[in-house]
């Protein structure tokens, strides 16, 4: 079994290498560690340029929108999500204007592929991890890929689609064995992926919390509680019907969101499932506002099985 980062890189590179008339660019993308492996396996073509560029992230984002405006394609590889805060003006203002003036069908494709560093030891400054809030400000779609199934679906569909999106990977899983689920069902817009179907509880994982959701599912199963597991993405006008149907069936929803945002995707999911018929118990687990520097953020990401059983009033069959 391959590792998470190298496996997802292969999937993304395969789709980028299929693009025609494309600018593929970023800082140090074709040398050194290849952004810790994020930008490996990219190949130039007759009308596809691989470009190592200087350090000017704001301009890189504007260049991508200019290429897109001209009907060509752009893929920008970025080492760290924090750097993309410098591009917010373009995400919000430039893309807003292009959508208003041109219409998506006349635009090329612009994708930012970026890693999220939030293990907790990089420093208070370098730890921005809230992909959904960034997308929300600009009303653009984002995808936090965590496994082979969602990476394949997102890359195959989104990298070739006109318009702009952000595809984010998590550095904290870089060297781990990649999760390769079978039988995954997802919505057409990649807003929701279902990995397991259970009868007692629906676990919804936002940002990069799927690994926590899967671990919790196993713990709950050992106590006789059967859980469905979903991951969700911050997509414009998301198709969450799969999620709604499951929540209505189990009647209990636990939402995990490991982002640091105060009003992020997890809140939005809670608001959505709360309006579903038969759903009476909804609980959000997210990170506290004040997280001390240097701690393992995993400690803050997920409650114990016992805590979940108590907070949602689930019936454990274990002794």
């Amino acid at each position: 079994m391959g590792k998470y980062l190298s496996s997802v890189n292969e999937i993304i590179a395969r789709e980028v290498n299929r693009l025609e008339c494309a600018l593929v660019y970023g800082e140090n993308i074709d040398r050194g560690s290849y952004l810790s492996g994020l930008s490996k396996n990219l190949t130039a073509g007759s009308r596809r340029r691989i470009l190592n560029v200087g350090n000017c992230e704001y301009t890189h984002c504007g260049v991508g929108f200019g290429v897109m405006l001209a009907g060509a394609n752009a893929v920008l590889f970025v080492k760290q999500l924090d750097f993309m805060l410098l591009g917010m003006d373009h995400f919000v203002s430039t893309y807003g204007l292009l959508r208003a003036g041109q219409g998506l069908d006349r635009l090329g494709s612009f994708t930012i592929v970026v890693a999220v560093y939030d293990q907790g030891h990089q420093g208070p400054q370098s730890s921005f991890n809230d992909v959904a809030s960034m997308c929300s400000m600009a009303r653009v779609s984002g995808f936090t890929v965590t496994n082979l199934a969602d990476a394949t679906a997102v890359a195959e569909q989104e990298i070739h689609r006109p318009g702009f999106r952000i595809i984010a990977l998590t550095q904290k899983s870089a060297g781990e064995d990649v999760f390769a689920p079978q039988g995954v069902v997802h919505s057409g817009d990649c807003a929701a992926f279902r990995y397991f179907v259970g009868s007692d509880l629906t676990i919804v994982c936002a940002n990069f919390s799927l690994r926590n959701g899967l671990a919790l599912r196993a713990e709950l199963a050992a106590r006789g509680i059967s859980s469905s597991v979903f991951s969700v993405n911050p997509v414009i006008d998301p198709d969450w019907r799969l999620l709604a149907a499951d929540a209505e069936r189990t009647g209990a929803v636990l939402v995990l969101d490991d982002s640091k945002g105060l009003m992020g995707l997890g809140h939005r999911v809670c608001e959505f499932v709360s309006r579903c018929r038969s759903v009476q118990r909804v609980h959000l687990v997210n990170r506290p506002v004040d997280i001390p520097f240097g701690v393992d953020l995993e400690e803050y990401a997920v409650p114990s099985a016992e805590a979940v059983i108590a907070m949602l009033g689930l019936r454990s069959t274990s002794p």
């Binding site: 008339c21 494309a22 600018l23 009308r47 340029r49 470009l51 560029v53 200087g54 000017c56 704001y58 301009t59 890189h60 984002c61 504007g62 260049v63 991508g64 929108f65 200019g66 290429v67 897109m68 405006l69 001209a70 009907g71 060509a72 752009a74 003006d89 373009h90 203002s93 430039t94 204007l97 292009l98 208003a100 003036g101 090329g108």
Partner: protein, 325 residues
Amino acid sequence: MTNPGSPWPDAAVLLGGDTSRLPRDERSPAARMIQLRLWQHLVNELLKQKAFKVPVHLAFGAEAVVTAVDESMAVDDQLVLTHRNAAYNMARADSLEGLLAEYRSLPTGACAGVLGSMNLAVPTAGIAYASSILGNNFSVACGLAFAKVLKDEAGAVWVVTGDGAAEEGGFYEALVFARSHGLRVVFLIDNNDHSMVSSIRERRCEIRFDRMCEAVNVPYRAFDSNDVITYVAGLRGVRRELNEAGGPVCVEFRTALLNQHAGPTPGWPTDPLSISLAAGLLVGSAPRDPVAVLQATIGAESFGRIESMLAARTVARVSNEANHG
């Protein structure tokens, strides 16, 4: 129909009106610049009447630059603008009708009433993008230029900025990016010494754009005569250089901003600036007003002939509208 001593109609009559374009055999750069001045006057009169909800940023004093850019752009060239784009849109579209409808947010507007004023970019006129965020448009222009490389297309991208927007870090970044990748971009600085109501001296240290360009090995040209004929010849030369030597290139124009930052001039009862079409086309003297410079260059008789022709067509059009009203 006209005020005593002026060939121009009373401003109130112009509300909702438009003017006719110059006839085909009268389309010299000089004549077109005078027409551009007239159209800016008409929009200013409409702004005084509060005809639009959107803020329109006119550019009295920049007509020579705008006309020279319009005259120098090749067929495949693209123009990238700022919020102060009204004069460029008028010149490139060679029409006022679509712009007035756009400023009124009508579906018959040049961009279906969607873009308003500060983001107005008429694609059929070769205008690709206009941003109201200072410094935002440089990198988009670089992307458009890079797309030409990818698609093996001819043409260059002209990106317009002011001395205020060129203070943004994005200007320097884009210079470096365009130079690093040999992009055919014309960086055009309209240096009117003002960012809203602050002069350069009032807000910052001096920026020597020539030295800035030298530092990153970008050719730099400067023009300050406000003479449209010199400007047209100069920019056509710059465009030829770009074809022969590749890009980018940076051109700085010293201009005067003769109107208020946005909206009508005068903008308030005690406004020291005042512009009225009834007082004639000129709003200043040479060398600050390029129309005055042109009048001195081609002579009062030639200037008067073009002015009279425009006035007759404008009055005729207004009368025609009144008869059908």
